[in-house]
């Protein structure tokens, strides 16, 4: 019998009632008295010198409150990067200034030049057209390799070149890896591009700044996955507002996928301008603005080499990557191709030697940062494509080659600095073979061929590092923040509970899953527990939601705080029953004295805490509220095996996904329905990357796919019914719930199996294609097949 409450049950998501009935409260739903609107005048060229900007005529237009330009932000801080990478010479990465509004130069299409604050948005837009602006166009830096060539135009003149850093990892292994590749019985080489993506959450970014003259206090409502991070970055680094004078609130957030982690110029602008104008200032991105101002994802160009010995054991792996940073360093941009990518390159395999070289490059494109998976999808795609290619070159079964090289003993210290605590890659592969009905593939292929279609099967494994992250470790690696999280459990007098958490759901269902944990621990009904999140004035300093960390890190803090509650409640119960603390047991919401029939209910104890008439006041304080901060001892390592079956129409190049199966190991699972939903969504985005999505720039730095007319988002009918399974569970060994995280797995694990399947389909039709870059859109598949 599946459980109907507590950990392991699948209650429906309580937040969906408001989301699905139009009762959600998103940032754009908030309107305040006296609110003005800002419109940003953005660059329509990729690279240029601002030679004239005259706002005088525009300032006289109806409704205009004030027009700001870069000059108004001299003396204001630069938008910071949160992670300092040290290059292979031991030097810090180059960190160019990132002004709130362009100063002197524009560096990408969409770079904000001026901000017009007006009584209405239309008036602000009208005034923008009256600004006299001259930009002297400069050659656009678009291609990463050309950007590093001598004589390239410079995105940032003061840096001397366009290289942010060259990183080598593990640099000490470099020679040994080269040697192993030279001496290998077989080397498979693959050059690929991990396509640039635009996250496109359904809710575009919005920011509303309010300044209270009465209290000298600024409040920013914003679409953020991590309000405390924004308060820290914007308050301390950009605007110089101390924490107690700044509140950041992210109410309901309609999807983020990473792109709402970062601190953006528009947030700093509305906060700054609301004080300067003494009026609330609101900005709501249009979808077109989102395409040119939300941080993009991926965009790596990579050469990967896999060395094998005569028995097909992997002996070494080498990865050379060019990682696009775009025009400025976004908040976590520098960490994505390095620590979130290089440390994952062992994958599921016991390859003894691994070396990664990453050149991070500035270009005249929108900044690139973390997007669902961040670095780990890039690593997984490389490994699982090169392993598949090796199997085809060697004429061995791709699954058998993987199995032969699986890591099988845990804990396992990889050659890339991380230690996997648990896993069972054989078990997930066995499960995959079963749920994907791989033995029935040949018959299904024959059926497709009868209908003139090619059918392909692609399989891959993945491993990811989640539960981000141990603070002392990431500190050594360059993170400029801790990555713990925090929770306050506030038990009210009648026994109901408010839990204030540092994680912030932007669609994940925390409001349902977190109470399941607390209710299970206390033996009370879930409906008595409510989650409070997204407001720095209400919740303790937590780091937010990304990197599949919420349950593993913030959930652990919540468990620790609840344990403190239980400890104190037992003392109160002991006092009420005149027993010793040590003899008190808590079960089903009842405290009892072991070996007796004496008991008091949860509500009696909580009431006593707040009405302490009969209470051990000399030993403990009244009240029942506890806070815990939790810093993880290690990353968590979810893993799994995925299989994709495609049909390919050889006449048109159109690929359709016929079956998709996922066997994941997430450790313990709190709400299986939510976990499945996360995997579904992740696969949807992975399939989107593999078949549809592509942010393409032309050589002038114009974004060609700047709207849904050309940027293909996955739609329901692009996706199959998935078969997903999470019954293989090797619990995490170092957090109290034994959970690993499931938010990114689908997006990390699915692209390689899709492309492996497409290649398999093409080869089955006699087409000699051994790789194609994503997306495998019809036009590109057809071009690959027909040279």
């Amino acid at each position: 019998m599946p459980k109907d409450h507590g950990i392991g049950a699948s209650p429906k998501r309580r937040e969906d009632v408001r989301f699905l009935t139009g009762a959600g409260n998103y940032t754009d739903d908030i309107n305040v008295y006296g609110q003005a609107y800002v419109h940003f005048l953005r660059s329509d060229v990729a690279h240029g010198k601002i030679t004239k900007i005259d706002t005088s005529a525009a300032a006289d237009m109806p409704g205009v409150v004030r027009i700001f330009t870069g000059a108004d932000f001299e003396g204001v801080g630069s938008i910071p990067c949160g992670w300092q990478v040290t290059d292979l010479h031991g030097e810090p990465m180059k960190e160019p200034a990132h002004p709130v509004l362009a100063q002197g130069k524009v560096r990408h299409v969409g770079d904000p030049i001026a901000a017009i604050v007006a009584d209405s948005l239309e008036e602000a837009r009208n005034a923008a057209e009256a600004i006299e602006l001259d930009i002297e166009e400069l050659p656009a830096v678009v291609d990463m390799k050309a950007a590093l060539a001598d004589g390239s135009a410079l995105v940032h003149d003061d840096l001397g070149d366009n290289l942010c850093y060259e990183w080598g990892f593990v640099e000490d292994n470099r020679a040994a890896v080269d040697e192993a590749i030279k001496n290998a019985a077989h080397v498979t080489t693959l050059e690929l591009r991990n396509n640039r993506l635009v996250a496109n959450p359904m809710e575009p970014r919005v920011a509303l700044g309010e300044y209270s003259r009465a209290n000298d206090h600024s409040t920013l409502h914003t679409t953020s996955q991590n309000p405390h991070v924004i308060r820290l970055l914007m308050g301390a680094f950009v605007l110089g507002i101390p924490e107690h004078k700044l509140t950041v609130i992210a109410p309901d957030v309609g999807g983020g996928f990473g792109t709402k982690i970062f601190h953006y110029a528009e947030e700093a602008f509305v906060t700054f301008a609301s004080k300067a104008c003494n009026r609330p200032v609101k900005w709501t991105a249009s979808r077109s603005e989102a395409f040119m101002s939300d941080a993009h994802g991926r965009d790596h160009v990579t050469k990967i080499e896999l060395a094998l010995d005569a028995d097909n054991n992997f002996t070494a792996l080498r990865c050379d990557t060019y990682a696009n940073m775009g025009a400025y360093l976004s908040t976590f941009a520098s960490s994505v191709p390095t620590w979130l990518h290089g440390t994952l390159l062992a994958g599921n395999y016991k390859t003894p030697l691994v070396y990664t070289n990453v050149k991070a490059v500035f270009t005249n494109t929108v900044p690139v940062d973390a997007y669902r998976g961040a670095g780990r999808p890039e690593a997984t795609f490389q490994i699982e494509r090169v392993v598949d290619k090796a199997a085809r070159e060697l004429g061995v079964d791709p699954i058998a080659l993987r199995r032969q090289n699986f890591i099988s003993e845990f804990p396992y210290a990889t050659p890339v600095a991380v230690e996997y605590d648990t896993g069972d890659y054989v078990a997930t592969m066995d499960k995959l073979e079963e749920i994907a009905d791989l033995s029935g593939f040949a018959a299904r292929r024959a059926e497709s061929e009868k209908n003139g279609k090619l059918r392909g099967l692609g399989v891959n494994c993945y491993i990811e590092a989640c539960g981000i992250a141990p603070s002392n470790l990431v500190g050594q690696l360059g993170a400029r923040a801790g990555l713990y999280d925090a929770a306050t459990v506030r038990v009210n007098a009648t026994g109901s509970i408010s839990v204030m958490v540092g994680a912030h759901s932007h669609g994940q269902g925390h409001e349902t899953a977190f109470p399941q944990v607390v209710a299970e621990m206390l033996g009370i009904d879930e409906s008595m527990v409510e989650i409070v999140h997204g407001d720095t004035s209400k919740v303790p300093f937590g780091m937010g939601t990304y990197g599949s960390r919420s349950l593993a890190v913030c959930g652990s803090a919540m468990v620790r705080a609840t344990e403190k509650i239980i400890n104190k409640a037992k003392k109160i119960a002991a006092h009420l029953m005149e027993a010793s603390d040590a003899d008190i047991e808590l079960k089903d919401g009842q405290f009892s004295v072991a070996g007796t029939d004496k008991s008091v209910a949860w509500g009696d104890v909580t009431l006593a805490a707040y009405v302490p008439h009969n209470y051990p006041l000399e030993d403990i304080e009244p009240g029942l509220e506890e806070t815990a901060f939790y810093d993880p001892a290690n990353f968590t390592y979810p893993s799994g095996a995925y299989a994709c079956e495609v049909e390919l129409d050889p006449d048109t190049g159109k690929v359709t996904i016929e079956r998709f199966s996922a066997a994941d190991d997430f450790g313990n699972v709190v709400n299986p329905m939510i976990v499945e939903g996360q995997v579904h969504g992740g696969i949807g985005q992975g399939v989107g990357q593999a078949l549809l999505e592509n942010a393409a720039y032309d050589e002038n730095g114009q974004l060609l796919s700047a709207s849904y007319m050309d940027y293909a988002m996955p739609r329901a009918d692009d996706l199959p019914f998935y078969t997903v399974d999470h019954s293989c569970q090797t619990p995490c060994t170092h957090n109290p719930l034994g959970v690993k995280g499931c938010g990114e797995a689908g997006a990390i694990g699915s692209p390689p199996s899709v492309i492996n399947a497409v290649i398999d389909a093409m080869q089955s039709g006699g087409f000699k294609v051994d790789h194609m870059d994503m997306p495998a859109s019809p036009g590109r598949v057809w071009a690959a097949m027909h040279g």
Binding site: D651, T652, L692, Y708, Y711, M713, W782
Partner: protein
Amino acid sequence: MYSFEIGRPSTVADAVAALGKDEAQALGGGQTLIPTLKQRLASPETLVSLTGIAEMKGVCAEDGALSIGGGTNHATVAAEASAYPALAALAGGIGDPAVRNRGTIGGSLANNDPAACYPSAALASGATIVTNTREIAADDFFDGLFTTALEEGEIITSVRFPVPEAAAYMKFEQPASRFAMVGVFVAKYADGVRVAVTGGSEDGVFRWSAAEDALSANFSAEALDGVSVDADGMITDLHGSAAYRAHLIGVMTKRAVAAAQ
């Protein structure tokens, strides 16, 4: 968008009068025009809505022809053009339900988007575009990208399609917009076969005469073996090369012939 006045006439005559004013523009379903206004790419002073004009709405079959009011939306055509199933199917495949319940045949033809569906049906059917002042043969109507024979202020009041013996529309969707990357409309009449192609050419919708000749002689997919479109003049973009589009035209034409009913 910039502000504008809006007129809501209930007769064609009133609409024509309203469109006589400076900077006035007809508004059909708004599925193309409203996004254009939102992007501030157009600034008409007056919009004259055609959606309240009863005489411009409806589907009516008479004398082997199907007449569709210029203000009829795609969903209505999909539901009511049963006398011309290929046309009903085309209308049912445009955009999504919201688009089909707003967008009109008159707006689509007047707009002549090079990737739109209706122009291929009109051209392949030898349709007659009826306006407030005259009747224009489809062969004389389309004039390259987003350009038609319509004069300033002229309104498409209806479109008359001769019903063919057999016809089909095959649309290969551009993956992002789901407009036609290539759409081919094949219509077989007693006096010959007409084939019109949308989405492919840099000059907009066109008749593929080589295919028409081959199919008029032998109405079967095999008749097209060895007949191909020159890639010169086909569109190359993010989604496919000119060669790919030229190839797709062949594939979609064969499929249309096979599906024709």
